[in-house]
């Protein structure tokens, strides 16, 4: 109890310094579950709260973080033509990955949580847990080479306009993490589009472009040379013929054959391919999805119907077959891009998804179909889940509206029948008995 007493003693005054108090409250309730007791209504409450719910989602994506970090380094060295084996140069790849990922992670949280804390203090309510998940998701869906300032602007945009403007956690219409991503996509198309961004640490993806190593790399170089192991190569440069293109870009250009010419199926499945940081490795994402399903935190209805929707649209596009991309067999579509990540972590966000069970089926199905359609048809950017999910976020309340209308109509009709002809009603009852 010593720690508790100490924490109680240093509690800042709520009136004098509201921001500090909010900050303190946020960290205090993180360390200690509150001592509040039930007052009216139920006397016993479920052990589950929003903190635990959110942290479970964050835990479910930890494997994606581990793999994503390493894959940043791996893709860097593959572009340089060195350490081509996945596990070769392990320490260098991990170090490079961490050097790239940590700033992204830290800046996401500094900006996002900073805004969250500020608004909480301003409005005088407790810090809500929503950004725990958004903040963990944003780094995973960003390209590894994203400039930090663009990241910061996008996070600020998403949190202020996407969430706080609507009233905070639970009130937002659009998925906050996707809003950050879509902001990058639309606001900085020249910086962030094309094949350049998926591999980090080079000036450009032209062959011969040299790797840029900063002070952090230098620091680790000293450590590695002291340990007498490989250091970062002095003159790493992009090898001839390397494009940095993702499987989806390749499929857009020349169909499935064009993809398999560069990447093997198992490579795409396990995820050692260029792409956004956390979305390449399918098995690890599926483990996360399995955790969310087993704990009942994410909706299986959305996941399943989204998969069905994507498969149906894939088949329909196969039947159409007008472009090379359309001819990619539907089951191979799942090897490429970020379908599973979107399915497990993005579409299932309970706040922005449809809230009725019937609505969830429709919502997931439409995301699957529209997302696959955008992926294949959109000439500017061969991926569709971000746009499809945001689109359906917008329409989720409408879907729910019709589900609820159905429920209300049914009830009203039963009542109307009872009022208009009471005798018929009791007759029915007799026959029913």
């Amino acid at each position: 109890m010593g720690l508790l007493n100490f924490l109680k003693r240093i509690e800042p005054d709520k009136k004098k310094s509201p921001f500090l108090h909010t900050l303190y409250d946020g960290f205090f309730t993180f360390a200690y579950a509150p001592d509040s007791v039930t007052k009216e209504g139920v006397h016993v409450r479920d052990g589950m709260d929003l903190k635990r719910t959110m942290v479970m989602v964050v835990l479910a994506m930890q494997l994606c973080y581990v793999f994503g970090t390493y894959n940043i380094g791996h893709q860097h060295f593959v572009a340089a033509g060195q350490y081509l084996g996945f596990l070769e140069g392990f320490h260098l790849k991990l170090t490079h990955g961490l050097i790239k990922l940590l700033p992204i992670f830290l800046w996401t949280h500094i900006i996002g949580l900073g805004i969250e804390f500020w608004f909480a203090a301003k409005k005088g309510h407790a810090i809500e847990e929503g950004f725990l998940v958004s903040g963990a998701l944003i780094p995973l869906i960003m390209p590894p080479d994203i400039p930090i300032w663009i990241l910061c602007v996008s996070v600020a945009f998403a949190v202020i306009l996407g969430k706080e403007a609507f009233g905070g956690t639970g009130m937002n219409i659009w998925n906050v993490a996707l809003l950050a991503r879509v902001f990058v996509f639309f606001a900085y198309p020249t910086t962030i589009s094309g094949d350049e961004v998926w591999v980090s640490g080079f000036e450009s993806m032209a062959s011969g472009a040299v790797a840029e190593y900063g002070w952090a790399h230098g620091l680790f170089d000293k450590l590695f040379s002291w340990m007498d192991i490989d250091v970062f190569p002095a003159a790493a440069a992009v090898v001839d013929g390397y494009s940095g293109a993702t499987p989806l870009a390749l499929a857009y250009q020349g169909g499935w054959e064009n993809v398999t010419a560069t990447f093997s199926e198992s490579q795409m499945f396990w995820g050692s391919i260029p792409g956004s940081i956390g979305e390449t490795s399918k098995p690890l994402i599926l483990i996360g999805a399995a955790i969310l399903l087993a704990t009942g935190i994410a909706s299986w209805r959305i996941m399943l119907s989204m998969f069905i929707g994507a498969a149906i649209m894939g088949m329909m596009l196969n039947g159409w077959g007008a472009t090379p991309f359309m001819t990619v067999p539907w089951q191979y579509q799942f090897y490429m891009g970020s379908f599973f990540f979107a399915m497990a972590f993005m579409a299932t966000d309970p706040v922005t998804a449809a809230s009725t069970n019937t609505g969830k089926w429709i919502y997931g199905l439409l995301i699957g179909m529209i997302g696959m359609l955008i992926r294949v048809i959109n000439p500017a950017y061969p991926e569709g889940w971000m746009l499809a999910i945001l689109f359906l976020n917008t329409f989720a309340p409408l879907i729910d509206h019709y589900v609820l209308e159905g429920n209300m109509k049914r009830r009203m009709k039963a009542s109307a029948a009872a009022v208009s002809s009471h005798s018929v009603h009791s007759e029915n009852e007799v026959t029913h008995a």
Partner: protein
């Protein structure tokens, strides 16, 4: 090969699509014809309940056996069973505040020092003076306790050793007119045993209820088994059913436990009521849930409900001409040294009922009713009229290091992130900690799993908060009472006060008329 498989899948999907669309069209047409498709399966697909649900046991008629999938049994330490012992209680009280729907200031018919008989009127409501509220026991009125605005909140009676009942003439139900029965029940103090839904208020004598419902079992946490109450009371229950049948334009329904054992002989013997069996977790025993599955409450109409105990009191009155408030109360919960069933009368003193039985360790919260929808009681308070359970649990006013992430002590939860779901029969020693702070609605689909009714609780709550009367009515507020939504409130991740929101909504509806 692949192509063939694809064509096969596509073919099956197309076929399924057309089948499903036409199936839905049939259902829509059926609904237009006024057939309730929830009860009669007109679909070509068998309902999942028929395929995988528990088959009806042989004592239950198949068409009147209801398998309810949603819900949760909250298992707590301290259940009471065995033979009821006689409680040693000397003071009893009638609490005007127990009766919802009456004017705030009750009109007294007795003063301190008066001797009263059991069943003698002690106060009435000035809005409907013909409805009498009677003393639960005979004895001397020793105190008129006053609450808000000096209104009498407790009429405390020091009970006689030998109970003396006010004797009424016995009314022949078969020959008496409906108005005679109503007048008789009102004068004898039994009218307030009738509860009217929607709104859960004292029945309005000018209303003819669509149906009258009695649930004969409870699934609430630690709720006592009713068999001790039912032993040897066949005549009383039969008389109650006969009387009630005269008051409704529809039927009297009995909700019976369909979870396993065959029903108590008293329940099998009585006739004249339609018996429905309910198999499922809590709240399958709630009368509101049972109404929803037998004959749902229509808008602009009302049904009446009685507790089993109330029905027996009413039956005894009609049979013997006395108002007998004797009841069996279950003392349950982890903070009782010996949880037990006790025999006493309505309005028994809590201090005397629980004397020497409460554990010294920790602060104890006494609740009349169950932990989900009961009310907190002070020790110097008295048991309310319709209650037959007192639950004692420990207060949870302590901080817990990382309690939300790594709970040390087991706590009840419906979440599969807690190890509890692996031990479905574990009995928890729950406390009153909120286990988290209040948040906005985030998680969806949670309440629906806790309420076996065709209702969207979260959307209803939002409609109430927005004050949208039409939507509240459409989403089924009239079918709900606090106890039905209590389990959803327990499970709520955002710690929302659903019962108080619902009561606000019901009050809003009542004001609208």
């Amino acid at each position: 090969m692949l192509l063939a498989a694809l064509f096969l899948i596509a073919g099956v999907l197309t076929l399924a699509f057309f089948l499903s669309v036409s199936d839905n069209l049939i259902q829509i047409e059926a609904q237009k014809q006024g057939i309730d498709t929830r009860k009669k399966n007109l679909s070509v697909f068998p309902s999942l309940g028929n395929l995988f649900g528990k088959p009806a046991p042989e004592f239950a008629d198949k068409s009147k056996f209801h398998n309810l999938k949603q819900g949760h049994d909250l298992k707590l330490v301290g259940s009471a069973s065995g033979t009821p012992v006689k409680a040693n209680v000397s003071r009893y009280a009638l609490k005007p505040t127990d009766f919802r729907g009456i004017a705030p200031i009750p009109k007294m018919e007795v003063a301190v020092g008066d001797e009263v008989l059991a069943g003698q009127p002690v106060f009435y409501d000035k809005l409907s003076p013909e409805i009498k509220y009677v003393a639960p026991v005979s004895g001397e009125v020793v105190e008129l306790r006053r609450g808000a605005k000096r209104a009498v909140s407790h009429i405390v009676i020091l009970a006689d050793k030998e109970q003396k009942h006010k004797q009424h003439d016995i009314l022949n139900v078969d020959t008496a007119s409906k108005q005679d029965i109503i007048n008789y029940l009102q004068a004898a103090g039994a009218w307030n045993l009738l509860n009217q839904r929607p709104f859960d208020i004292i029945a309005d004598p000018t209303v003819t209820p669509d149906n009258i419902f009695i649930s004969t079992f409870s699934t609430a946490p630690l709720a006592p088994d009713n068999s001790a109450l039912l032993d040897g009371r066949t005549a009383d229950l039969q008389e109650a059913i006969d009387t009630l049948s005269r008051l409704t334009s529809g039927k009297v329904y009995l909700g019976l436990d369909g979870r396993g054992n065959s029903p108590h002989p008293t329940l099998s013997k009585v006739t004249g009521a339609e018996k429905h069996y309910f198999n499922g977790k809590h709240p399958a025993g709630n009368v509101g849930v049972q109404i929803h599955h037998t004959a749902p409450i229509k808008n602009n109409s009302a049904v009446w409900t009685l507790t089993l105990e109330g029905a027996l009191t009413l039956g005894r009155l009609m049979n013997a001409g006395i108002y007998d408030s004797s009841k069996i109360v279950a003392l349950t919960g982890a903070q009782f040294d010996s949880p037990q069933l006790v025999k006493t009368y309505a309005g028994a003193s809590i201090a005397e009922l629980t004397k020497g039985n409460i554990k010294a360790e920790g602060t104890t919260r006494l609740i009349q009713g169950d932990v989900l929808s009961g009310k907190v009681l002070g020790e110097d308070d008295f048991l309310s009229q319709g209650e037959n359970q007192i639950t004692s649990i420990k207060e949870g006013d302590q901080h817990e290091l990382f309690g939300w992430l790594l709970p040390i002590k087991p706590r009840p939860s419906i979440s599969k992130t807690m190890p509890g779901f692996l031990m479905p029969n574990h009995q928890y020693e729950a406390n009153t900690n909120t286990h988290g702070e209040k948040r906005a609605f985030v998680v969806t689909g949670q309440y629906e799993k806790m309420l076996p009714m065709d209702i969207f609780p979260q959307h209803l709550m939002k409609a109430i908060m927005a004050g949208d009367i039409e939507r509240m009515e459409g989403l089924g507020i009239n079918e709900l009472s606090e106890e039905d939504i209590a389990l959803a409130e327990f499970s709520c991740t955002s710690k929302m006060p659903l019962q108080s929101i619902l009561r606000d909504g019901l009050d809003m509806m009542r004001e609208q008329g």
